[in-house]
């Protein structure tokens, strides 16, 4: 301890304090302040850039989600449209079929009615022709019969015999 005290130099202590204080001040002003500020700014810049990248990533995710949602909606809409179209088509087809059936039925009925009336007309005509032919035949036969007296007599007799006075 005595040796330490003996070694202690007031002058050196004075110069050390003064010079160190000066050095501290100068370094603070011209070195540490700008250095620490630059380092801080740089770190802040890096942090901001990272934050911005993170935000961009989030935004990107949002955009992707949005577009996916839109796509889904569009797909659903398309499906709905297709379904509707199919329903409309089916309705039209079935309606047409029905109409066709009704029309067909109507036509068939008409045809049948026509056929019936034609048939009736034909039958009536045949009947008339048959009557005519019978009359002509009868005329011819009568003409023939009446050409001979005997025959005529016979006829009258036959006829008279047929009548038999009921």
């Amino acid at each position: 301890m005595e040796k330490l005290l003996e070694e202690f130099s007031l002058g050196l202590f004075f110069w050390q304090t003064v010079l160190f204080g000066l050095l501290l001040f100068l370094l603070y002003k011209f070195a540490w302040k700008p250095i620490l500020k630059a380092v801080n700014d740089r770190e802040e810049g890096i942090k901001n850039a990272l934050d911005a990248a993170d935000a961009a990533k989030k935004e990107m995710q949002n955009v992707t989600a949005d577009s996916e949602k839109l796509l889904k909606e569009a797909r659903a809409e398309r499906d709905a449209l297709l379904k509707e179209a199919r329903e409309i088509k089916e309705g039209i087809v079935s309606e047409a079929k029905e109409q066709a059936k009704v029309e067909g039925d109507k036509m068939i009925k008409q045809a049948q009615a026509t056929i019936e009336s034609e048939k009736k007309a034909a039958v009536a005509e045949i009947k008339a022709q048959v009557a005519n032919l019978s009359l002509e035949i009868a005329e011819k036969v009568i003409k023939e019969e009446l050409s001979d007296k005997k025959k005529q007599q016979k006829l009258v007799d036959d006829m008279l015999g047929d009548i038999k006075l009921n």
Partner: protein, 378 residues
């Protein structure tokens, strides 16, 4: 990177070689004077550890037996009947008496004493000089080294600051080496010990002492015979600065902790008997903390220099083909360790200063969990 490391090893090797040749000069001197080699080495070491009034690089004895010193003198500033300024060359390395304005001064064991014209020094019974010691504010070797180191630091770090401005926040050149160290001081010394809120205030001081001590320690490893950080006045000044900063910036809670260490945990009448012991211990602690700083740095650097020089001195004592290379190898290994110690001591001083600043910055005494930001919200 590898190359620079290699060149650094080479550099250290060269420095050691220089020391080797330096010591060799001593040996010749000794033989011619017929002095005991061991005493000579011991004196040389203790001389080297002291501050000196001139910047001598080495000395030798010329063929005519005259002592030759290579170096340059430094200004001596004394306060004795006003200011006395003269060159230390007047002392002729303590061999002659300097006469300034009718006053006579003599250099004796690194200290300046006022003497008569013949330079007689009177001793008391313990062989201590009883002559008057004028107040000595000389620019000594250590002061020169402080100025050199300060200039070096100013140049290095202002150029680093400028390189940031020039290159948009990216360091260039030597700054690439120093920037990680600055960041280390900030992120691993200041932040964890002082806390996010207040660390910025102490950063300039922590950075300055770290580099100041480290550079001076490294200068101490050169063969120029510099021992600034191993000087008690220097370490005292540094520790005093930490002491003043700690106590002048101390918060209310810090002082509460000093004088009321137990807080509100027990009634006042129970605290009285405890505080009779506790408070003096706390107050003593205020002074012991910086005192340990000054002694640690001083003793480490002093011891390193003594060990290194003793090992080099051993080479000349052994003078054998086995002993001398052995002590040379040892000296080489120790100087590599000293490079590490130089950094380590700077780190420890800075670290402990930061720790003390941390104590002075505490906001809530005794209840540590309140400092935890996550628990504050609970």
């Amino acid at each position: 990177m590898r190359k620079t490391f290699f060149t650094r090893i080479l550099l250290v090797g060269t420095l050691l070689l220089a020391q080797f040749t330096f010591a060799k000069e001593q040996e010749h001197e000794t033989e011619e004077h017929g002095k005991d080699l061991k005493t000579e080495i011991k004196e040389y070491i203790s001389h080297h550890l002291k501050d000196s009034h001139d910047f001598s690089l080495f000395s030798y004895t010329a063929e005519n037996g005259e002592h030759k010193y290579v170096g340059f003198p430094l200004p001596v500033i004394l306060i004795d009947d006003g200011l006395q300024v003269f060159s230390s060359s007047k002392f002729h390395h303590g061999e002659t008496v300097a006469e300034v304005d009718g006053n006579h001064y003599k250099l004796y064991h690194g200290k300046i004493y006022k003497t008569d014209a013949e330079g007689t020094i009177n001793y008391d019974e313990k062989h201590h000089p009883t002559n008057v010691k004028p107040l000595d504010f000389s620019i000594t070797k250590n002061v020169v080294m402080i100025i050199v180191t300060g200039a070096l630091m100013l140049w290095l770090f202002t150029s680093l600051a400028k390189s940031y401005a020039k290159n948009n926040g990216v360091p260039t050149g030597v700054g690439r080496f120093f920037e990680p160290i600055i960041l280390y001081v900030r992120d691993d010394i200041a932040r964890p010990n002082i806390g996010e809120k207040r660390y910025k205030k102490y950063m300039p001081y922590l950075l300055t002492i770290f580099f100041f001590i480290w550079f001076l320690n490294m200068f101490g490893l050169t063969p120029l015979g510099i021992n600034v950080t191993g000087n008690i006045a220097i370490t005292f000044a540094l520790a005093l600065m930490t002491f003043l900063l700690t106590n002048l910036t101390g918060t209310k809670d810090y002082w509460m902790h000093q004088f009321n260490p137990l807080g509100d945990s027990m009634p006042w009448y129970a605290k009285i008997p405890l505080y009779i012991i506790l408070v003096p211990i706390e107050i003593l602690g205020l002074f012991i903390k910086p005192f340990s700083l000054l002694i640690r740095l001083y003793a480490n650097m002093q011891a390193g220099h003594i060990v290194l020089m003793s090992l080099i001195g051993l080479m000349f004592i052994f003078k054998s083909w086995l002993g001398s290379p052995l002590s040379f190898g040892l000296a080489f290994a120790i100087s590599l360790i000293e490079v590490l110690v130089a950094l380590l001591q700077a780190y420890i001083f800075t670290m402990l200063s930061a720790l003390y600043f941390g104590f002075a910055s505490e906001d809530h005494h005794a209840e540590g969990h309140e400092d935890d930001p996550e628990l504050v919200h609970l």
